[in-house]
Amino acid sequence: MSQTIKIDGVTVPFVEGQTIIQAAQDADIFIPHLCYHPDYSANGSCKMCTCRVNGRQMSSCTTKAAAGQVVESNTEEINSERRVLAQMLFVEGNHHCPSCEQSGNCVLQNMAHRLGMTALTFPNFYPGRPTDASHPDILLNRDRCIYCELCVRASRESDGKDVFCISGRSENKRLAINSRSGELLDSGLTRDDAAASVCPVGALIRKREGFATPIGEREFDRNPGQAVNIRAGTLPKLPRQPGQKIRVATCSLAGCFGCHMSLLDIDERLVDLVQVVEFDRTPLDDIKDFTQDCDIGLIEGGVCNTENVETLRKFRKHCKVLIAVGACAINGGVPSLRNGIDVRELLETSYVDGLGVDNPGIPTDPELPYILENVSPIHEVVKVDYFLPGCPPPADAFWHILSNIAQDEQPDLPYDLMHFD
């Protein structure tokens, strides 16, 4: 008789020498992971596959299965830790999914989705690590690297080349290239190498393949996998008189109004919505300032200048609940791609060297707001109560949340309404 372990109560057979994650995979049990890959030696660094094994937390990709082991994986305890790990990886790099070639095919994104990581509550590091575009066929965007070392292992173990290596330590850890120039161009890496297509995120990608598959048909659009113990953030219940409408204010900071458009996309349900919702200050009705305090403030966009800061603080002051809507509000999004570029260069690019600039010169009118050194997510400036991810969040997500609130229910975000792009 073969030996067995128990994973979340299910009896799973294993072969001598197998790790827990291997036994789980053979039994079609999903244990979240990033740096583990069945074709390569285990690395054990991402810690996403951490499980409680006989009472102690261990990496399931490096822990051998042993008869009678009791493994807990899909528990709220473990998943909440994984959610924090996913958050750590997001804030440590620049993960702006809406503008990333890998979006929809990205394992980190999918993992965050399955784990129900709606919020980024930690400050973003905005690292600014050097990009390597030297190679004709392959691009390395280090700001998206999660140090899974899969490319390192694939190059060594499959391609026999040893093109990559990890350098540095602590936050200065970097993916280094083994070539005379230190760049990919003369590294000997080719388009067909296993290493060129093994990256689980958008860090190491093949050129001219990005965005080839339309949204809706990408790998994880088609098969997102089962949600793992989804538990979105909880929104405080609003103290309201029965039958009283919810007062909502909205604004767009450094955003593109896409989130507002999406809200309007609830279409004819708007008619139902206005039965229960009353809009205060919002670009939708052109009310410029708060007429009274509101229940809910929906904020689109990140914070890029002093005017944004002021507006956001005003919203915080006048709204009982503040919701960060969309990728830009949550982690800076596309506008924050400018972080790390000197402000002078930004201003000159826009107002001096920009295309079609008539009257070149950096504007100095005292009426104008100052631009901030970095575009920040709104939770770094004010307290945010709830996060609604997406670029933009789907109309149904707005609808769902607002109707939750209107019906005095605890709002949640169903799996299929949660997106990172």
Binding site: Q57, N178, Y370, E373
Partner: protein
Amino acid sequence: MSTASRAAAGQKLAEYNNNPVNVLQIMRQIQLQAGCVDADAIEMLSDGLGIPRAQLLALVQFYSFLHLEPRGKYDLYLSDSITDRMLGSLETAEVLTRELGLSPEGHSEDGEISLSTTSCTGLCERGPAMIANGHAIQRVDTKRAKEIAKLITSGIPVEDWPVVWKAIDDVIVKKGPLLGKTLTPGAAIERAMRLGPHLTIAELEVSGLRGCGGAGFPTHLKWETCRSIDADQRFVVCNADEGEPGTFKDRALLNQYAEVLLEGMTVCAVTIGAKTGYIYLRHEYEFLRAQLLQHIEARREAGLLGRNILGHHGTDFEIYVYMGAGSYVCGEESALLESLEGKRGIPRIRPPFPVTRGLWGKPTIVNNVETLCYAAGILEHGAAFVMHKGNEPGWKLLSVSGDCAKPGIYEIPLGTPISEVLAECGASDVQAIQVGGPGGELISEEESGRLLPFDDVNTGGSFIVFDSTRDMFDVASNFTHFFAHESCGFCTPCRAGTKLMAQMTDKILDGHGARLDIDQIHTLNRVMTQASHCGLGQKAAVPILTTFEKFPESFHQRMEDVDYKPAFDVDAAIERSREIVSEERSS
């Protein structure tokens, strides 16, 4: 600089016979000689050693004393450990920066002087400490800093600085058997040979000897496992990395009891059947290296090392000294082995443990300096060596520093109450004691009845006293930054977690702390403790949390009673914009 680094590379490659095993030793020597291991040196090393460039680059960028960019002719590192800070290292830095006209980054305009900070240098009781061109300089108070600035300005090389500055002696305050009894060179080896491995290990078992490096693992079990595994080769490695802030007892042993250490290593070697041993000595202890090599040489001549030890045919054992290059995590035994193999010090996946698969995959004993010294005493005199009153076995060395009249080394019987050590070292007005370094335990004065190692309050040797004038939040903040700086970066929870912890600490320090930050720290702590790959990450959130628990006022005085306060500072964020606009207006 490039010519200097090329010359140094050529010379060191020849000295080490182009042996790739010595890559880190070679790099360290190039750094000391040429001030950097730059791209040219890397190129030469890559060709000479057959190691890919990126892997060499990875080493330079991992170890904190190796640099790609040239350091100044005067290459100064000021120790930034809490004990140095308590002795005024921040003022020292200020004086040096001012007197030498250094930039905030610590460079002189001509590039001749570089000043940086470094983690604990192991001179905790004689700080503020500095490493200047590889030399340890003690007690660099503001007065000495001014003298140093003068010497540098007049171009006097560090070699010619006053000898007393560099004379690192050891204050041994309290002696037990190890520090007190004289041992006869060779006696322990002889007895171990006579007893044979079984009885030698049994003797260790009776003595109750446990690892003194921090984990307290029973030494006899380690030796027995290592010995019983089938292998063609075994190694003995002495962990002399002593990186735990506040610890300097290994330094004293290496300095004054090197004979005992070498004896202990040899006892281990004959017991487990090893032919080669290494002492992994931290970079900061360069000043101990030459005399250690002399001791090794002398013992070889006396027939206590080398071939046919004590005339026993076929009993051979060599000991090599291998220098670290600046990394606290290399004190973790498996990271240490990686470093010994010439790689970055990343802790290995365990199991397998070093005793079964260690250096070059062979069974290896990694023991702390002190453990090996006790082993020598126990083998010479029997387990009675470590018995104390009440016939309980076991002693431990403490490195006592901080606010007390008599800092230094104390050898205490296991189970000594903390209060007794406090009385002996002349500590008054005690607020707290950090036992076991940053990852150890913060003990408040009320808890000083608790007992020292191993079972109540554990320690690898660090014992730092804080009196009531100290701000315990500053202490926790210093430790938190230490962990962020020393994280090897391998695993997610520690790499990102230590940096987030440091950011939150700074946020609170700046007066922006709020309840949500404390919640976040708890969340991070849970993940870091549970999921980190090694002890560093597992312990990194401890200082902040225990300080919050035991000294909440030190937090509350910096925090308002609110849920949330942003760290965001508009004025700082628009400083650059303002500057540009005013430049534009005036042009």
